[in-house]
């Protein structure tokens, strides 16, 4: 069977961020490229696969590799070079978005693309090709990556530039860690002239107005995000709020040096000045049920109405990292954890598909506790591109010991709506997709390219995760020599 034994002391329990996925893996945390190569050698000697993990904030099983090696790059945290004149930065893969923005904001720069939480690493962000609330305007993180270094499964180190090796560049970025291990990236950041953003909130009475307003706002906003009350039914189905945010132009902030300071950006760790946010999830636990969350959604909607049309100034950190506002909020979903269903839909079918999905969830008795809608551009560039010219809907569900079977069936039925609408899925959020849904949404051509590239760069199928085995297990199986 296996040639060499692994060190059992390396065994650690690793969880998906949503706390639905749990695994035990042999975890290695090297700090150098040589250390990574040693782990690859060890994997070959012991007949194990290697999964990649950064911040560990993928919701499902994208960063766990049960009973195999998990290469955790979160200790590669050096910032190698920073030029505040050009806004070009070189970082190791384990540098987090938090490390990055905190390092550069004082010089008047900000990452072009940040996801809703700052605790992901740059390596993980590239593997998932993350987007932000400015997806329509600014694309994905891959679009602002000038070059990166990566270790291939055979141990070779390469440098990838978008123009020189486009196929590798576009498949390692978005490739969910299936092709190579990114060790360093050079990113172009963007100039900002204030540490604050101006957000205008609009309350909308139904789904149609929500989508119409987002479409109308998309070219005039730097950041755009929609929230929907997934409990609203009938005429009010899809009611919610659209937050359109613009950056302040040069000279509009009278005191940029002050708003660009870390002290201004750092999100307060208390609410009302006295209540520590760290205890909020313990309180929220009692509301994390259909009744409590229905009232919270209702309250948010009506509170939003009072703010309708008003403008507010927020720090970049507060406006971008909404998921970090309440620390450890995922724990409010314990013990069963949290499952997210995120789908990307073409514009033509978006309204109908979102309507069907919201209605189906309600009919089954599992209305989503949080509904987020965003506007996205088409993406035909990256291998595992998930984005379409249209809208995305993200929904959160609470998993319990009793609802697992029903919830899973609901997920499958939602997937079918998405596939029928010509939509796609995003693997950083996924814990449940079936291979057939993924093949159908990616299309035969992309699947063939994916398999061909995997066979070319990782013929031994060394780089795997629970997610890759679940979604592509059969296709990636090593061809036995006959």
């Amino acid at each position: 069977m296996i040639a060499k034994q692994l060190d059992s002391n390396r065994l650690e329990r690793t969880d998906g961020w949503g706390q639905v996925v749990h695994a035990v893996d042999y975890v290695y945390r090297p700090t150098t490229v040589a250390g990574i190569q040693d782990v690859l050698t060890l994997a070959r000697d012991t007949g194990r696969s290697v999964g990649l993990r950064g911040g560990g904030i993928s919701y499902g099983d994208a960063s766990v590799n049960a009973e195999n090696i998990l290469l955790d790059l979160s200790r590669m945290t050096r910032i190698l070079d920073w030029n505040p004149e050009t806004g070009i930065i070189d970082v190791e893969a384990g540098v987090t978005m938090r490390d990055l923005w905190r390092y550069v904001v004082g010089d008047g720069w900000w990452p072009n693309v940040v996801p809703g939480t700052m605790f992901g690493t740059i390596g993980g962000s590239l593997a998932m090709n993350v987007h932000g609330k400015n997806h329509w305007q600014s694309g994905t993180i891959g679009d602002h990556t000038l070059e990166f270094d990566a270790v291939l499964p055979n141990g070779d180190c390469i440098t990838c530039l978008p123009d020189e090796t486009p196929d590798l560049f576009q498949s390692i970025i978005s490739g969910v860690g299936l092709f190579a291990i990114v060790t360093r990236a050079r990113l172009q950041l963007k100039r900002i002239y204030s540490g604050r953003l101006k957000t205008t909130s609009h309350t909308v009475p139904d789904l149609k107005s929500l989508l119409t307003l987002m479409d109308a706002q998309k070219d005039d906003s730097d950041y755009l995000v929609g929230w929907t009350d997934c409990f609203a039914k009938g005429d009010t189905l899809g009611r919610g709020q659209v937050d359109a945010t613009v950056a302040l132009a040069a000279g509009k902030d009278p005191l940029p040096t002050q708003t660009l300071r870390l002290a201004f950006q750092d999100v307060s760790d208390t609410i009302f000045g006295v209540i520590p946010k760290s205890i909020l999830w313990r309180v929220a636990r009692y509301a994390t049920n259909n009744v409590g969350i229905a009232w919270l959604n209702r309250a948010k909607y009506w509170a939003g109405k009072l703010q309708h049309g008003k403008q507010a100034l927020n720090s970049y950190a507060a406006a971008n990292f909404m998921l970090d506002y309440v620390p450890h909020w995922k724990k409010a979903y314990l013990p069963g954890g949290l499952l997210q269903h995120q789908s990307f839909l073409p514009k033509a079918t978006s309204e109908q598909a979102i309507r069907e999905m919201l209605t189906l969830c309600q009919a089954r008795g599992y209305p989503s506790y949080l509904g987020v809608i965003k506007r996205h551009p088409a993406d035909d560039k990256y291998l595992l591109g998930y984005s379409l010219d249209g809208f995305s809907l993200a929904m959160d569900f609470r998993v319990t010991a009793r609802n697992r079977a029903e919830l899973l069936q609901l997920m499958y039925d939602l997937d079918d709506i998405v596939v029928a609408a010509g939509g796609r899925f995003y693997f950083a959020k996924d814990a449940h997709l079936r291979p057939e849904s993924v093949s159908a949404s990616l299309g035969a051509e992309r699947m063939q390219t994916l398999i061909a590239l995997k066979r070319q760069y990782d013929p031994a199928n060394l780089l795997q995760t629970n997610l890759s085995r679940r979604l592509f297990g059969k296709q990636f199986q090593v061809q036995s020599k006959t």
Binding site: V20, V24, R48, A66, E67, H432, L433
Partner: protein
């Protein structure tokens, strides 16, 4: 054979290892676990018998949920490697059952140190070689369930079976110690104490049987105890009363009794 199952976070089969799965309680329990949705690794010395059990389970379930791994519990040094390989093949581990046990024929007159030491090796040392790394693993994982198959024979030192009784008493103590060690990490340890269950071992060793139950019924009862996360369970329950009585017979009477 039927297709493999596309598992995800919500429909994962729990994973179990049964050491001593080629016959008797281990075989029946493996069938029961598979029927309850487990993926099961079957370990024992006799590969042909083990493969037959695996095939029967997979046919009954219509899916590839059981596989056979040849292993001799007396090869203590190989256990860490086998554990790594088997958990890799299973894709995890939620339940570990040490069922392997051997018994020489009951005889109140015969002295048999070789046979007694042999039983200690299989029933105790083999168990320690497995239970220890499994407990360490479950402690790290923050959860898991260990089950040891002891015996009512371990509750009192009895005339016809000094070696067997000692081995089971030692196993009970070891399991109890592990339970006290790993419970705070969310790990459950269950000691199963079967009375008389109709197995090859019973037929070969006991001169007479008292109300023995079929092995399938025994497996059902053991599974129920596992599911309830019992600390100690007599199978079937009536043996708890019998054992209670036997444990409280004063020594000056007990040494006069032919049990």
């Amino acid at each position: 054979m039927a297709q493999s199952i596309s598992e995800n976070a919500l429909n994962q089969r729990p994973k179990a290892i049964v050491v001593g799965a080629s016959s008797g309680i281990g075989e029946a329990l493996s069938h029961k676990l598979a029927a309850e949705g487990y993926r099961v690794a079957l370990l024992a010395r006799r590969l042909d018998k083990l493969e037959a059990v695996a095939t029967a389970i997979n046919q009954a379930q219509g899916a590839d949920v059981a596989f056979a791994v040849q292993h001799d519990v007396l090869e203590f040094d190989t256990v860490p490697q086998v554990l790594q390989d088997v958990t890799a093949k299973l894709g995890g581990l939620d339940l570990f059952i040490y069922n392997t046990g051997t018994q020489t024929p009951n005889d109140p007159e015969r002295y048999d140190p070789t046979g007694d030491i042999g039983m200690i090796n299989v029933n105790v040392n083999g168990a320690i070689a497995w239970l220890s790394p499994v407990a360490a693993r479950f402690q790290k994982a923050g959860g898991g369930h260990i089950v040891g198959i002891g015996s009512v024979a371990g509750d009192r030192g009895r005339r016809p079976m000094p070696g067997y009784g000692t081995s089971k008493a030692a196993l009970h103590a070891y399991l109890e110690a592990l339970r006290n060690r790993v419970r705070r990490y969310g790990v459950t340890v269950t000691t199963i104490k079967p009375g008389q269950i109709e197995t090859e071992m019973l037929k070969a060793n006991a001169d007479k049987t008292v109300g023995a139950i079929p092995v399938e019924q025994g497996a059902d009862l053991i599974y129920a105890a596992i599911k309830k996360k019992r600390q100690v369970a007599y199978i079937p329950f009536k043996w708890q009363i019998v054992s209670l009585v036997i444990q409280h017979i004063p020594s000056f009477i007990f040494h006069r009794l032919p049990i």
